[in-house]
Symmetry: C2
């Protein structure tokens, strides 16, 4: 493998000059610059990033924090994030947050050993030590698809979960439904916000909130959607519509409804959130509140990059991305 010394020798200049050329520093005479550039070109030399990182005290690594069991939405999202991370020239460093009790501590430990330049966080972490560490190390963090308040200066990128959920519920109400079942997770803030939106919509239309029409899940997966729907059906409380707070949940829900002999949307209208790729291809295709995955992934990395290179002040920023209601076949007028 060639090193900067080789290039210097071949071009007949010092390593300092080669370094300056590579880093586009101004103070190099045109002819030397040309010469160095030509040698680099001819030899196909590529500088060793590890060496560079070591003196610049950086790592060129961006961590993507995500749960170890993720749904399709998250898969699409982190694919998008990874794609952008690579295109900015960073290395991708996945850190999976185990759902075990010790999960968050493991993340902290791993984080300490990785020395990341920045983090895109796709799942909330509550461990106070984690927040403290990130803060005092001044590691730029972007929170993607959620918003929490126990942090000093991260940027949040997300849709308004409350308003999105409210719109979904309003939409079902506008179709004449009033017995609207609801599937949501307890643990994360975006679930809480969606639950709030759901309740608000009911209230504003004078529909009494019935707790027995809500089924809670541990994760936003198809499996959980199916299980939660089974639980709902066992309660024997009639409902003509179902709002599942992710498309994965909704697809699992529809599957359970069908297995239980119900038709969608004839017997039950179903609406989801996310607009994952599959929602267009299911039968019936899924009405949903779209989160613009590509846009969010791109923006997250763009902002993270700016913060890493110091172009952006580390102030708290809350970026709310517009959602879109996409009407498909899984919902119907009552």
């Amino acid at each position: 493998m060639l090193s900067i010394k080789d290039i210097a020798r071949i071009a007949g200049v010092s390593v300092s000059t080669v370094s300056r050329v590579m880093n586009n520093k101004p103070s190099v005479k045109a002819d030397k610059r040309e010469r160095v550039l030509r040698v680099i070109e001819e030899t196909g030399f590529v500088p060793n990033r590890a060496a560079r990182d070591i003196v610049l005290k950086q790592t060129s690594k961006v961590g993507i924090l995500l749960p170890d069991t993720f749904n399709q939405f998250q898969r699409q999202l982190f694919s998008e994030v990874a794609h952008n991370v690579e295109s900015y020239g960073y290395y991708t460093n996945f850190i999976f947050i185990s759902s075990e009790d010790s999960g968050e501590e493991e993340v902290l430990h791993k984080l300490k050993s990785e020395r990341l330049d920045g983090i895109v966080q796709l799942k909330e972490i509550e461990l106070p030590e984690f927040c403290t560490y990130v803060e005092q190390q001044e590691i730029p963090v972007i929170h993607l698809t959620f918003e929490i308040e126990n942090f000093m200066w991260p940027t949040h990128i997300h849709i308004s979960d409350r308003l999105g959920a409210k719109e979904a519920t309003n939409y079902l109400i506008s179709l004449g439904h009033s017995d609207i079942a609801f599937i949501v997770g307890r643990k994360f803030s975006f679930g809480t916000h969606r639950e709030q939106g759901y309740k608000e919509a009911l209230q504003e239309h004078g529909i009494r909130y019935n707790q027995d029409l809500t089924s809670y899940v541990d994760s936003y997966t198809m499996r959980e959607g199916k299980r939660a729907t089974e639980a709902l059906l066992q309660r024997n409380i009639p409902f003509s519509a179902l709002f599942a707070t992710s498309d994965d949940l909704a697809i699992g829900a529809i599957r359970q409804l069908v297995e239980s002999g119900l038709n969608v949307p004839e017997d039950v209208s179903v609406i989801g959130v996310d607009n994952i790729e599959f929602s267009e291809y299911t039968d019936p295709s899924l009405t949903t509140i779209e989160q613009p995955i590509k846009e969010m992934g791109k923006l997250a990395v763009e902002l993270l990059h700016k913060r890493i290179i110091g172009k952006e002040e580390p102030t708290m920023r809350n970026i709310v991305i517009p959602y879109t209601l996409i009407e498909r076949e899984s919902t119907k007028r009552k």
Copy 2:
């Protein structure tokens, strides 16, 4: 940030000794070892990988080569690979192969600048310079889910595409079908192998191969499955079964059949390949040939790791993983 010097100073030993302790070298007296270990523990010191990599002439990075448009199967697969890569302590380096003409050359360029320790390749690359480069740099490569012959010493991990496809076709035949439509890609070897298996099954059962029942796709996505099925239907040649060579294709196909007023499986039985998560939740749920994604991802990284650390000789290895026919609702006796 602490460095090895700090630890040496605090523990009252030389940096050499600290280094030896960290790398589990035998020749360190127990008491000094203890002392160093304690200081490391107390300070939470973690060695700088970049510095280590630089002297060991390694990068600790594993590249995952994948197409820039991928289907759910590939998404599940590379999630799995990435998970394992991280757990072995490597950094993940995604390299997306653009479908543009220049895509493979860009990959080569990127590869040269990355100095990867190893590669898991999820998509074929034909560019001869790529093969040459990987060979002469002696970069360990694992080919995952396909098998090609223009390479000196990579390991292939895959199901038998020919036999899997044959089994799928045989299964449809055993249900009484003889007009079996077929959706497959032209470009990649595994497509060719699956096409071969399909034809063999037909032939062995005395069914004439009808080229007009085959529809070709550019990628194994739902979108392409839908499009290919539309093309099939437009030909107005009756078929009672359809073998789509990926679940993504099959799901797109079912969607098109439904939109065209056909029932699955009553009018058309559909079988896929892969057993992606969704195939269990679609309506009807999808009969398919399972590729064991978790197992394949794990094995790929395990073998790559062995090769990187030199425990495994770089001989050509062809590892054929068993597939499984999973019967669900999308197929039915004629």
